[in-house]
């Protein structure tokens, strides 16, 4: 890894951590959601700096819409979406802290104990990466991805079906 690459990886890594902290520092639902978005975007940029081009671009693309949709739900469901009413919207603080620390510890243990193998010495060029990904998706991992896809589609159809009666009631009114 070149020095420049390392500098970018460090920068985007720190940016991701900083924005992740901002998520909890602010009381504004909109700021919180978009801070999470920029944390994820920084991770995407980190992937780009690591020469995982497809993964980086995909991460940067997907998160923008997903986090924006999350933002509207946060604004809809929270009592004080602007965070201006000095209202405490947290709950179960001790449980959350314990759960957070335990989860972080588990991730750290897994990261340290996993035998990652020797680091790659050469990286395939981006178009080869794409080709490899395509073969993976239509080969060994096909069943996994197709199952996930169908599950999400089913969930979408089910969610729409659940929402239909409410829509009908509103039309009748």
């Amino acid at each position: 890894m070149s020095a420049l690459q390392l500098a970018f990886v460090t920068f985007f890594g720190l940016a991701a951590v900083w924005f992740a902290l901002v998520v909890f520092r602010t009381s504004s639902m909109m700021r919180s959601a978009l801070a999470l978005l920029f944390s994820q975007t920084a991770l995407g940029a980190l992937f780009l700096a690591l020469q995982a081009e497809f993964l980086g671009v995909l991460q940067i693309m997907m998160m923008a819409t997903e986090m924006s949709i999350m933002a509207i739900f946060m604004v809809m469901f929270m009592m004080d979406p602007g965070g201006l009413g000095q209202m405490d919207m947290t709950h179960q603080k001790r449980l959350s802290i314990v759960a957070g620390v335990v989860a972080a510890a588990v991730v750290a243990v897994v990261a340290v104990l996993t035998p990652w193998g020797a680091p790659a010495t050469s990286i395939p060029n981006p178009s080869e990466q794409l080709q490899g990904l395509g073969r993976e998706l239509l080969g060994r991992s096909m069943l996994v991805f197709e199952t996930a896809g169908i599950t999400i589609l089913t969930a979408m159809v089910a969610a729409t079906a659940v929402a239909m009666p409410a829509l009908q009631r509103r039309r009748e009114r």
Binding site: M30, L34, I60, A64, T65, I69, P126, S127, L130
Partner: protein, 298 residues
């Protein structure tokens, strides 16, 4: 140098689009209008509304401009006139366009104004309508080129432009591109005459100038994307490649502006219904047809 030329081309095209837009709306051809309008905006006072979310308010116009420029960065004007030649550039265009939504949400939330807020959230709904109609036609285009590289996509159209090879995809992409750049009849977030400018309502002076510039460059980027994906990009006889790109881009932009003048503004619910009940099945059909064509015609 390689970065400067495309940026200048982008600004020049934006100038032309601004002149065209004014010409179509007012009926007067004034080639210097963008200059005078910019001067008037920049010289004017730039007000900050009461109790804004200052960070979002200031970031939104810049982010809109950035997203538009980044989308254009992956699109070639001539064989070697492209800012970044990523292996995933067709996907990158879409990634950059996703941040138009983020910019408009910020512009909606930032000023703490009702019209802006409604405009911002409306664009979120609009995104849910158009985003699939951007991605799925691009998928079919990439299938034919067997590459996500935009320069490869242009080269794949040497025999027959995609507009003839997959006219359905072109129609869907054209409409979706109009929705991304919130041109009429999809100008739900700004909705002049109904939302008093919506997301743009609270911006004045220099901030408004940046917002307008971003929007105009966004129109240029999407017209360039349509040219690259469907109209053979720089391909064409006699004239130099960059001129072909410029002419096609301007023609697409003019078509987008003209199409908007003839149609009334769509309602949010109708837009979503049309996009999901008609648009997405048609986009699926397009992918299927292109797949069959690729297998049948070697």
């Amino acid at each position: 140098m390689s970065v400067l030329a495309p940026i200048l081309a982008l600004l020049l095209l934006a100038w032309c689009v601004a002149v065209l837009d004014a010409w179509m709306t007012t009926g007067r051809f004034r080639p210097l209008a963008p200059l005078t309008a910019t001067l008037a905006l920049v010289a004017g006072e730039s007000l900050v509304p009461r109790k804004p979310d200052r960070l979002f308010f200031e970031t939104a116009p810049i982010l809109l401009l950035l997203a538009a420029v980044l989308a254009a960065a992956a699109l070639p004007i001539a064989p070697h006139l492209v800012i970044t030649d990523l292996a995933t550039s067709a996907l990158f265009v879409n990634a950059a366009l996703a941040y138009v939504l983020v910019a408009l949400l910020m512009a909606g939330w930032g000023p703490d104004g009702a019209y802006a807020m409604i405009g911002g959230w409306r664009f979120l709904g609009q995104t849910i309508a158009y985003s699939m109609l951007i991605v799925m036609p691009i998928t079919a285009v990439a299938m034919r080129a067997q590459s996500l590289l935009t320069t490869d996509i242009v080269r794949s159209q040497a025999g027959l432009w995609n507009v003839l090879y997959q006219p359905l995809g072109f129609a869907l992409f054209f409409v979706a591109a109009m929705a991304v750049s919130f041109l009429p009849p999809f100008d739900l977030p700004t909705a002049s005459g109904e939302l008093a400018g919506g997301v743009e309502a609270e911006y004045t002076g220099a901030r408004r100038a940046i917002f307008r510039l971003g929007r105009t460059i966004l129109i240029v980027s999407l017209a360039t994307a349509t040219t690259v994906f469907y109209l053979g990009g720089w391909l064409g006889p006699w004239l130099p490649p960059w001129l072909w790109s410029a002419l096609k881009t301007l023609a697409v932009a003019a078509a987008m502006l003209a199409a908007g003048h003839a149609v009334p503004r769509l309602r949010e619910a109708h837009l979503l219904a049309w996009a999901w009940k008609a648009g997405i099945p048609l986009a699926m059909l397009n992918i299927f047809l292109v797949g069959v064509l690729l297998l049948v015609i070697p």
